[in-house]
């Protein structure tokens, strides 16, 4: 890989987990989004760059902070989802129209435990899952078009704020589940999606926050605050690999489903590309290191592949008003 181009953002990126959203429409250039405080900066190739604002709640005291943004690609439509201290905003994929707004229960006076939504994933064909600071995961049923989004279920298995949610991007082996949710304590929950979501298994945390998670062919790849990447067998909940990957807190993981390439970005200024595979004889899950990039003097807060094979990727960093793009060497 080598550094290709640099896209200029109107404002710098905030230090938030998974702070880079990428939409890769087939045979069109990708669109990008990065959160800065209360706004989301969108860069697409249709029209000028756009900025979306977090929606205020009942009190108009100050605009709430955004925590994350992600495009949710469902078979019927693509929605852009924003999470904030007040709730969940869903837009059409170009950010032009708001489709739905869900307000969280925000107490009138700030309580010791902060309230916010965080963790976004499309799942089960017509659902979008959003995590909250209470540990609850909201499951929204998305109609093929229009604004009639409904809250279908609330999953309450986590006791700590949700950090990230990921749906199966490949083929789940039998009984492995197709959704994983992660929280501040490092606990991972595995679910099977449907009209009713079922909890299949829980992997307890071991003292380190899981800030980012991906699920591919029954392999959970999780990034932790102590710089480790761990691979878990989704079906059995057993650990299959442990990598001392970074010297600081991991902020972003992404997976390229066609090849099993894994991207990790952390506060230590490094972005690593790994390759996941399954050994057909031993059935062991393997992970190899492919490439390292050092983004000088930058704490990486977002990293995503820009194509399903993982030949290109993009990176954001705290205080950086750019999106750095990397391509084949």
């Amino acid at each position: 890989y080598r550094r290709e181009r640099t896209l200029v953002l109107r404002s710098s990126s905030s230090a938030l987990y998974n702070n880079l959203a990428v939409l890769c429409p087939p045979s069109r250039p990708p669109a990008f989004g990065a959160v800065h405080g209360t706004t989301l900066s969108l860069l697409g190739n249709e029209g000028p760059p756009r900025q979306l604002q977090a929606r205020g709640g009942a009190s108009a005291l100050s605009t709430p902070l955004l925590t994350q943004a992600a495009w949710c690609e469902l078979p019927a439509r693509v929605l852009l989802v924003l999470t904030s201290q007040r709730g969940v905003q869903m837009y059409e994929s170009d950010g032009s129209t708001m489709v739905f707004w869900h307000a969280l229960d925000v107490p009138e006076h700030p309580a010791a435990h902060s309230v916010f939504a965080r963790g976004i994933a499309a799942a089960g064909g017509h659902f979008i899952c959003v995590g909250t600071s209470s540990g609850a995961v909201l499951v929204f049923d998305i109609p093929p078009k229009g604004t009639n989004v409904t809250l279908s279920e609330i999953l309450e298995q986590h006791r700590d704020p949700i950090t990230d949610i990921a749906a199966e991007q490949g083929q789940a082996p039998d009984g492995a589940g197709d959704l994983v949710t992660a929280d501040d304590s490092g606990t991972l929950c595995l679910w099977s999606t449907g009209e009713e979501f079922t909890l299949l298994g829980k992997i307890p945390g071991s003292g380190s926050t899981c800030s980012s998670v991906t699920l591919w062919n029954g392999i959970v790849a999780a990034g932790y605050g102590n710089g480790q990447i761990r691979l878990w067998e989704a079906g059995s909940g057993r650990i299959r690999a442990q990598v001392s990957a970074h010297a600081r807190w991991i902020y972003a993981l992404d997976l390229a489903p066609l090849t099993g390439k894994l991207l990790s970005g952390a506060e230590d200024s490094f972005v690593h590309v790994w390759k996941l595979s399954r050994n057909p004889d031993t059935d062991d899950i393997e992970i190899q290191h492919c490439h390292a990039e050092c983004v000088t003097d930058t704490q990486v807060c977002g990293a995503r592949f820009c194509d399903p094979a993982g030949d290109t990727f993009a990176v954001t960093g705290y205080d950086l008003s750019e999106i750095l793009c990397y391509g084949p060497a």
Binding site: R10, A60, S114, S185, R238, A241, A245, D284
Partner: protein, 389 residues
């Protein structure tokens, strides 16, 4: 986002302020017998430090500070330090106060950014408090106040998880976002680049609890390790020796938050900001915060109501200059870029009768002795309490 961020922000910025004031006071002090009426002596310096620290650690103020609440806006916080710096016989011109605030904020931004673990922000805070205790070691009353705050910090923060500390850190980083003021001492130490961004080393000890990167371990389906592999990167990390102490007394190990100034290392800032940052900074000022003015009124009243010592000699009192000469200070005031001005509103200076009426109304309301019911505005409770001091 975290409602527990303000005490850490306030105490660490306050600590940096004290380091700078102490250094400047020492640099400008004259031995007692030789000093003229308007020159600083060691006795004056100690008095200033004592007065400011006593105000900062006032018990009721601390109690309110520790209540869960959102961070103040940059403007509101700047006003608090404005008042705090003047809680003594010392006077600072606008230019010096601006420079002081720039140095304080860039120093703490640096410390937050370079903290190995989010939890280490607490160690940085303890470093500041340890140094503050050193400033007033011979004033048992004030020492007691500081120890009380120390205990409250331990009580409030020791039980927080790493995830919660990271949220606090993220909240602080959002507060400091887009600030790239160049500080001479940072530039000299090669800790900051000439574009105002901090140098992030990729070598040295890894945080406590993290392993040196490089090892891959593979386990089979029974959980038995079956393979090991290694990878290398440009980084050059080592394992840390020991963890810092989170107790009332102890070796913090971490150097961030200790006093980096000394009499021989003067403090200067460069005011140039690149055009890229202008947009985001200007934007921050434009977004209207309906409460901003009220906040300023409240907070000014907050610390304005404290027992401010009047200077004994002449109207100007004991003025402290953060620059090397008066001419430099004057020049800095005139050439400060517009977008970096803090636009601090000085309440006493307003002449409009309308504003005075508003202020009187607020003062009148604050005479209420019993606790105010459900107040939603930021800082209002703090304010009401300080009124009674």
């Amino acid at each position: 986002m975290s409602a527990r961020t303000l005490p850490l922000l306030f105490l660490n910025l306050g600590g940096e302020m004290l380091y700078i004031l102490d250094q400047r006071l020492r640099a400008q002090s004259i031995p007692g017998e030789k000093a003229r009426k308007d020159e600083w002596t060691d006795v004056d310096r100690k008095r200033v430090m004592n007065d400011i620290i006593a105000t900062m650690f006032n018990k009721k103020f601390m109690e309110e500070l520790f209540k869960p609440q959102d961070l103040y806006s940059k403007k509101a916080l700047r006003t608090v330090y404005d008042r705090l710096a003047h809680a003594s016989i010392m006077r600072l011109n606008q230019a010096s106060m601006d420079k002081l605030y720039d140095l304080m904020t860039m120093a703490f931004k640096y410390q937050v950014l370079l903290c190995p673990r989010p939890r280490d922000i607490l160690l940085v805070t303890f470093n500041h408090l340890d140094a503050i205790k050193d400033f007033i070691y011979d004033s048992p009353g004030i020492l007691n106040q500081v120890d009380e705050t120390f205990r409250q910090l331990i009580e409030t923060y020791s039980c927080l998880s790493d995830g919660e500390f990271q949220l606090i850190r993220q909240t602080l980083l959002i507060f400091f976002q887009d600030m790239h003021i160049r500080v001479s001492i940072f530039l000299k130490d090669k800790v900051q680049n000439s574009n105002g961004r901090f140098v992030l080393p990729i070598s040295g000890p890894v945080p406590w609890g993290t392993e040196v990167p490089g090892l891959i371990r593979i386990f089979n389906h029974k959980g038995v390790e079956v393979k090991r592999a290694e990878f290398t990167t440009a980084g050059n990390y080592i394992t840390p020796q020991r963890e810092g102490s989170f107790e009332l007394y102890g070796d913090r190990v971490l150097k961030l938050g200790t006093n980096m100034y000394s009499v021989t290392r003067p403090v200067e800032t460069h005011m140039a900001s690149s055009s890229k940052n202008l947009a985001s900074q200007a934007k921050e000022n434009i977004v209207p915060n309906p409460l901003a003015k009220e906040e300023l009124n409240f907070l000014a009243r907050l610390l304005g109501g404290l027992d401010v010592q009047k200077p004994s000699g002449g109207e100007t009192g004991f003025r402290l200059n953060l620059f090397m000469t008066d001419e430099e200070e004057e020049h800095a005031a005139q050439t400060r870029p517009e977008e970096l001005s803090y636009k601090v509103i000085n309440i006493e200076a307003t002449q409009e009768p309308g504003r005075r009426a508003e202020l009187s109304r607020i003062l009148g309301e604050l005479e209420v002795a019993e606790p105010r019911p459900a107040s939603a505005e930021k800082g209002e409770d703090l304010l009401a309490l300080m009124d009674g001091l």
